[in-house]
């Protein structure tokens, strides 16, 4: 059984993510050894190749952008003790809303406003999708985890229907995708010759704003209080229902923004697969970043390494794509295990014997 420690070590609490990464690498060694690959080579491909050249480094950042956007929003949500695991759905809705604006913009309209409008629409789309679990929870006591998760599938099917039906590209020869967005709706590149785009700036600003909100405002105080001790927060005058609604709107909004950014920057159209898996990976980002929006920024880079490393390993080592997901899963597992063991100690309990 687990027994709560009286005083968890503050140093270990900070080091926990580092320990978790180290353990993941160790477990990775074992995994590759079992698969019959050279573990040292595999580790090199996984963890060093993403930094090897300018192209890899820019791709790393491209992957990190949506992870950071979603992860810092989720950090706020988890801080309040609200477990929104429906970020993929909110991300998808963000992409749909952004795509809807981009595809239906009247031609010849002021193109300079089109991209901001798309991003704003994406934010609103994510907020709306995050609002549903909040409403159901506050009115009917529904479980946020379940409702938000199930809405993910609703969102995926909605997107599927749109790109095959009403929004399908007339010139697409039956492929399930929309037309490419007009130029005004496309995110400009940050560095020429790479895919790195202005979303990076958005992600950094988002993390800074969210961190400021969480640690410097009354509302952020209420969010942290609610997560630590709901009754004390209510006693302090923070409404539980309002806090839940707020954090779901915020995390949904930023997930939606991430969807809009991906749709306008890297995909540039809507299709059934818009990499909504970022929404689940961002859960790891939020926890790895210590539920701190700035921490999520750094954690997003770490997760991006496993993505890029996984792609490289697929090419160079002929490892299955899923190996990257195994890595991500191990990382979350070790992280949660470290956190648990920092706060609790294991005590082996004697079986009750007869007297």
């Amino acid at each position: 059984m687990l027994e709560r420690r009286v005083a968890p070590s503050p140093l270990l609490s900070i080091l926990s993510p580092v320990i978790a990464v180290a353990l993941t690498i160790l477990a990775g060694f074992a995994l590759f050894a079992v698969l019959g690959k050279d573990p040292v080579k595999a580790m090199e491909v996984y963890f060093l190749s993403p930094f090897a050249d300018a192209y890899n480094r820019s791709e790393l950042l491209v992957k990190a952008i949506p992870l950071a956007l979603i992860g810092s929003g989720l950090a706020i949500c988890f801080r309040a003790g609200v477990f929104n695991i429906g970020a993929p759905g909110q991300y998808t809705l963000g992409a749909i809303f952004a795509g809807g604006v981009a595809l239906h913009a009247p031609e010849g309209a002021a193109m300079i406003w089109l991209l901001p409008l798309c991003l704003a629409a994406g934010f609103v789309g994510g907020m709306l999708w995050g609002w549903i679990p909040a409403i159901l929870r506050n009115l009917a006591g529904a479980n946020v985890i379940l409702v938000s998760l199930m809405l993910t599938y609703v969102a995926a099917l909605l997107l599927d229907w749109l790109v095959r039906g009403p929004w399908a590209d007339p010139q697409g020869r039956g492929f399930p995708k929309t037309a490419t967005f007009p130029d005004g709706a496309l995110m400009p590149n940050l560095v020429e010759g790479t895919r790195l785009h202005w979303g990076l700036v958005l992600a950094v600003i988002a993390a800074l704003v969210l961190a400021w909100m969480l640690f410097r405002t009354r509302r952020g105080f209420g969010i942290r209080a609610m997560g630590l001790a709901p009754r004390a927060a209510t006693f302090g005058g923070f409404s539980e229902a309002k806090t839940v609604t707020y954090v779901l709107l915020v995390s949904g909004g930023f997930a939606g923004l991430a969807g809009a950014v991906e749709a306008t920057a890297t995909i540039q159209q809507l299709q059934p697969d818009i990499a909504a898996g970022y929404g689940f990976a961002a859960i790891i980002v939020a926890f790895l970043g210590r539920l701190n929006p700035i921490g999520a920024l750094i954690a997003a880079l770490a997760l991006a390494v496993t993505y890029i490393g996984g792609e490289n390993a697929q090419i160079l080592l002929k490892l299955p794509k899923n190996a990257a997901f195994v890595f991500q899963g191990m990382l979350l597992f070790f992280l949660l295990a470290c956190d648990t063991l920092i706060h609790y100690r294991v005590r082996v309990r004697r079986r009750a014997g007869a007297a």
Binding site: R218, G222, A229, R350
Partner: protein, 648 residues
């Protein structure tokens, strides 16, 4: 440390290792210091053996008005580990037995007990004497007739459960101090005592949740080490908790299947119907727990115990969640079980219940057994006196200038949300006054606090008024702006957040207002809050220091009205003195203060007037100097207010 209320929660959290509630509901740590305080204030309090005797026999309860009051019923000398004589039912025997408890040979039963009053001799075969080894066979229905056999019969047998010299300490706190108790088959025995008297700790040891530090617990004369509740259940000990540990979403039968994994659902369903018919515990096995009332859920708990063929059934405050009619039905079931030879250990502070049901009672105070008696021979007043003990005359806070009403509560009604409903509470607290609200735990205190603080808002805005301004529908923040301040009973998790620093905790109740710069530091200086570090986490503070911080945080705002619940619960004597002084000081400055407390010493020490909360109703406030502890104890036990007049 005594955690009195959430039994099931505690037992569950034990196994999870998540002690949900910090050990703050302590009364015992207060006891030694409190005794010193009383000694320091009022001179040494000595025991008068004649009074002890009188109280045990119930003879001393009609005291001539001019006779000196008994100074104390509390034995001051530590009692040697004593095997209590089996509770005696015959009043003529009570006196000698009680007077010489140590002299009684442990195993000697009272010679040929004479059945009391309306006793009729029972044929020996009629009493199911349980086989000491095998579990009690399934009860035979109805054959025994409507009336249960007289309970005295059990005393012919050896005690089923025998507790000898059991002690349990939590750190320096002796929660249970060399307690002895015998329980015979078929006996309905009450365990009486105030909050923190050690009842729950004792019972947890019997049920295997806790292990005693010293002494033995024997079943059928065999000393045992009861390692876990599951072992207790195998031994035939069943327990009905005050708070039920059930799964809302499952049906009755499924809930029972969870705890009886080796029986099929169909068998369980059949057994529920069978037991329901036999005992009048009718409940449909396929109903969902969520749809059941508190009384019906308790039936499920009792059926759960009965399915395991208990020989000893422990009930912890069973009527606290029941309507009077449900309580009546419960007593019928218990009578019947006892008639079949099952021993009942009934924990309660409801004196009327105990008088109606039990044939013996053990009164605990501050971890020790202070009396054993037959509750049927006692009055509610004499039982209350035994429970509360102190009848010491004490000086009260001299009323300062008391002015107009600052806080007015008019017909406050609030539906139950799993606890006690409030039913028409009205009172006023005036400028300069400290109003005490006494009552045993769970009579609506936390609900009243939530209603006053705005954590639960009310339908009518004018139910609560501050200086004439209606605030009944406002949230806590707006009420604070109107000049109210609050300090709830539970520190970590309610009035403060353990994982936040003191500066942030200061902000918790100040964020609605202009922040006081360095407020946390100011509180620490003014109220002598001792803690390591510049800005420590609240969880790192001792109970007393954190409570000083919490009270200081509210007082620093100079509120017009302060609502405090259990201001000195589980804090050391020094901190308690600081807090009391701070409260009296605030009142002297013109605030109106409401102190909700279960500690009568505290109420007598600082309050100008006192009212008693019982089952969600509040009695008429009385001037503290005009009431006695016994009078309040009666009201706390649910007697009608007229009884108070008689007791004075």
């Amino acid at each position: 440390m005594e955690i009195e209320k959430p039994h099931s929660a505690v037992s569950v959290s034990y196994s999870l290792g998540l002690q949900g509630r910090p050990p703050s509901r302590v009364t015992i740590p207060e006891i030694a210091p409190a005794l010193h305080r009383i000694d320091a204030r009022y001179g040494p309090v000595s025991v008068r053996p004649d009074r002890v005797l009188a109280s045990l026999t119930g003879a001393g309860r009609f005291r001539p008005a001019d006779a000196p009051r008994p100074t104390s019923l509390r034995p001051r000398q530590p009692r040697p580990p004593v095997r209590e004589a089996p509770p005696v039912l015959d009043p003529s025997q009570a006196a000698p037995v009680a007077a010489t408890p140590t002299a009684m040979p442990a195993a000697a039963p009272p010679a040929a007990p004479v059945p009391p009053i309306a006793a009729r001799p029972e044929p020996a075969s009629d009493i199911s004497t349980p086989d000491p080894v095998t579990p009690r066979p399934a009860p035979v229905p109805v054959a025994r007739g409507v009336e249960p056999p007289e309970e005295t019969a059990g005393h012919d047998t050896a005690p089923l459960l025998s507790i000898a010299g059991v002690a349990k300490a939590f750190g320096p706190v002796r929660a249970v101090d060399t307690v002895s108790l015998d329980l015979h088959p078929g006996e309905k025995h009450a365990l009486l005592g105030e909050n923190g008297a050690g009842k729950s700790t004792l019972v947890k040891m019997i049920y295997g949740v806790l292990q005693p530090d010293a002494g033995t617990i024997s079943l059928d004369g065999h000393p045992l080490r009861i390692d876990s509740p599951s072992m207790a259940r195998r031994l035939g000990i069943g327990m009905v908790f005050q708070h039920f540990s059930t799964f809302e979403a499952l049906t009755v039968a499924e809930n029972l299947a969870v705890v009886l994994p080796d029986r099929s659902l169909r068998d369980i369903r059949r057994d529920i119907r069978r037991i329901g018919e036999e005992y009048g515990l009718g409940i449909e096995p396929d109903r969902h727990l969520a749809d059941l009332s508190a009384g019906e859920r308790q039936r499920v708990e009792i059926i759960r115990c009965l399915l395991q063929n208990p020989r000893l059934l422990i009930l912890d405050e069973p009527t606290s969640v029941l309507t009077p009619q449900e309580a009546e039905a419960l007593f019928t079931v218990l009578d019947r079980l006892a008639g079949e030879g099952c021993a009942i250990l009934y924990i309660s502070h409801r004196l009327e219940d105990v008088r109606a049901l039990c044939t013996g009672a053990t009164v605990m105070r501050r971890g020790k057994v202070v009396a054993t008696c037959d509750p049927r021979e006692e009055t509610a007043a004499s039982l209350a006196e035994k429970m509360i003990g102190s009848t010491v005359e004490r000086p009260r806070k001299q009323a300062a200038y008391i002015g107009k009403a600052r806080l007015e509560v008019t017909d406050l009604r609030m539906p139950s949300k799993g606890g006690m409903a409030l039913e028409g509470i009205s009172f006023a607290a005036r400028k300069g006054e400290i109003l005490g609200i006494a009552g045993v735990a769970g009579e609506g205190q936390s609900e009243l606090f939530a209603a006053l603080s705005g954590e639960r808002s009310l339908r009518r805005n004018d139910t609560i008024r501050i200086d004439g301004r209606s605030v009944g529908r406002l949230d806590p923040t707006r009420r604070r702006r109107a000049g109210m301040a609050f300090a709830p009973e539970r520190r970590i998790g309610h009035s403060a957040i353990g994982d936040m620093r003191l500066s942030e905790n200061f902000r918790l109740t100040h964020n609605a207002l202009r922040t006081i710069r360095g407020g946390a530091k100011k509180v620490r200086e003014i109220f002598d809050v001792r803690a390591e570090g510049r800005d420590p986490f609240a969880a790192a503070l001792s109970g007393g220091n954190l409570q000083k911080f919490v009270i200081g945080r509210e007082i620093l705002r100079e509120p017009k009205v302060l609502i405090v619940e259990q201001p000195t619960w589980g804090v050391d004597a020094g901190a308690a003195a600081t807090i009391h002084a701070a409260l009296m000081d605030l009142a002297a400055k013109g605030a109106a203060i409401v102190v909700i407390s279960q500690d009568l010493d505290e109420i007598f020490a600082i309050c100008d007037r006192v009212a008693v909360l019982h089952r969600g109703r509040l009695s008429e406030p009385q001037v503290t100097g005009m009431v006695t502890a016994e009078g309040l104890g009666l009201l706390m036990g649910g007697a009608e207010p007229t009884a108070l007049a008689e007791a004075i």
